[in-house]
């Protein structure tokens, strides 16, 4: 896997003005972008996913240009085929676990039915031990179950890479190490390239084949 990134983005709000100017090449199967909160990690990840449009620059994945301000190329998020694990998981609150997992496989303007199935959905529900809670709503789940639901939802459509935003920060500290183990094993099994952003040194030790340090909107080494 390789991400080539060279982007600039200025974000302005009444409270602050933030300049992101990141430039890096991520070639490892597992890349961790590490830095304190407010360093621009989430903005960077959103730019990779196509959820944030940089002011200028270029983003390429395995040689394919996803964004190029010079050539006016903007591949929309829906066509980038990346899995994205949101920090707070962003599960659809009105849909049960099964519907959340099946969400990305369903085309059109209607959400999956309560009993949505299919080979891929069943496989991921089983792989992440979500079978017993498949008909429950997100607010009825434990933190770990919520994370696994979000992971299943991201992986079910066989994305080209997985982008993870602080994947363990919403979990109880006691649960983090075990969840790290599980995720480590799972990702090794399906062999999917990943980019993770985190401020937790433990994540860095476990997942950081390649590490990029981000501070005040700029990547150092």
């Amino acid at each position: 896997m390789s991400f080539e990134v060279d982007i600039r983005k200025t974000v302005e709000s009444p409270q602050r003005r933030f300049e992101l100017q990141v430039r890096f090449t991520a070639q490892a199967r597992r890349t961790v972008i590490y830095g304190p909160s407010g360093a621009g990690k989430t903005l960077t990840l959103q730019a990779l996913a196509g959820l944030l449009r940089p002011d200028a620059g270029r983003i390429a994945f395995n040689g394919e240009t996803l964004f190029d301000s010079g050539a006016c190329v903007v591949v929309p998020a829906r066509r980038r085929r990346f899995g994205y694990l949101f920090q707070d998981y962003a599960l659809f609150p009105q849909l049960n676990v099964r519907q959340n997992v099946a969400f990305g496989l369903q085309r059109g303007w209607l959400n999956p039915r309560h009993d949505a199935g299919g080979e891929a959905v069943e496989r991921w529900l089983a792989a992440l031990e979500l079978g017993p809670v498949a008909s429950q709503l997100p607010h009825q789940l434990s933190g770990g179950q919520r994370q696994r639901t979000a992971l299943a939802r991201a992986l079910v459509a066989a994305p080209r890479a997985l982008l993870l935003d602080e994947p363990f920060s919403a979990l109880d500290p006691g649960l983090r190490e075990r969840t790290r183990d599980e995720l480590d094993r799972l990702l090794a099994q399906i062999d999917i390239p990943l980019v993770m952003i985190t401020h937790d040194p433990d994540d860095l030790r476990r997942f950081g084949e390649q590490v990029l340090h981000l501070r005040d909107g700029v990547v150092g080494d």
Binding site: Q46, A49, G50, L51, P76, A77, R78, R79, R80, R81, F82, G83, Y84, F86, D88, A90, L91, F92, P93, Q94, F103, G104, G108, W109, L110, N111, R153, A154, A157
Partner: protein, 230 residues
């Protein structure tokens, strides 16, 4: 004609007018509510203020504006009459326009608040999962906002049902054609028909109470029919 019979005709007309007005407000209110919630353009709050005016302006002032716009010699009214032969003044369609303008702010405010309450991250989740912008709206945004929008629609229905001032100015008070419930109450009292007035007033009050109960239930987050099965 006894009191019950003379109440039936204006009630049916009022329900028809309020139904159409609510339908128009559904389209306009949701569209404009989304624009105001998500749009980033200069004059956004000014537009919101102008669209909210019907809530605070005297209905007669509103009725006057409408006459200037869709009256026989009005800007739009003259054109419609000349080219399409359509006359809106003194018709039930005119009453629909009056009611929908008066009730629009109720849907608009509710829809804007409902859309602003939808977590943007959930819409982003829809996008990375392969949804087009239209699909994000129908599968993520609308299901999370419909409750607030529906509550606004119910209020707008109740408001349309009770609309008096602007309706009287635009549609007049033609029995059986434009004489709605609230106008009929006025006419009945003027004519000293207390029996008719009593029935009309009772019907109006009951209908509005039912609508308000439904709206309150929606806003408090309870399901419409008992508890959801678990």
């Amino acid at each position: 004609m006894n009191a019950a019979e003379s109440a039936w005709i204006p009630l049916a007309l009022s329900l028809k007018v309020a139904g159409w007005a609510t339908l128009i407000d559904l389209v306009l209110g949701v569209g404009l509510g989304l624009l105001l919630a998500r749009g980033r353009f200069p004059g956004r709050e000014l537009l919101d203020a102008i669209l909210t005016l019907p809530m605070v302006l005297p209905p007669t002032v509103l009725g006057y504006y409408l006459l200037v716009l869709i009256g026989k010699r009005g800007w739009l009214g003259a054109w419609l009459y000349e080219h399409l032969g359509i006359q809106l003044i003194f018709t039930w369609q005119g009453a629909v326009i009056a009611a929908s303008v008066v009730a629009l702010p109720l849907v608009l405010k509710a829809a804007r608040a409902a859309f602003e309450g939808v977590e943007p991250q959930l819409e982003n989740a829809g996008r990375v999962l392969g949804l087009s912008e239209a699909a994000v709206f129908f599968r993520v945004t609308l299901p999370l906002a419909w409750r607030g929008i529906l509550a606004g629609l119910l209020l707008s229905f109740a408001r349309s049902l009770g609309e008096f001032g602007a309706t009287l100015m635009v549609a007049g008070s033609i029995p059986g054609r434009t004489q709605t419930l609230s106008v009929a109450v006025y006419e009945a009292v003027q004519a000293g028909q207390d029996g008719v007035a009593n029935v009309l007033v009772l019907i109006t009050s009951l209908t509005c109470i039912v609508v308000l109960l439904l709206a309150g239930r929606l806003l408090s987050g309870q399901p419409l029919r008992g508890r959801a099965a678990r």
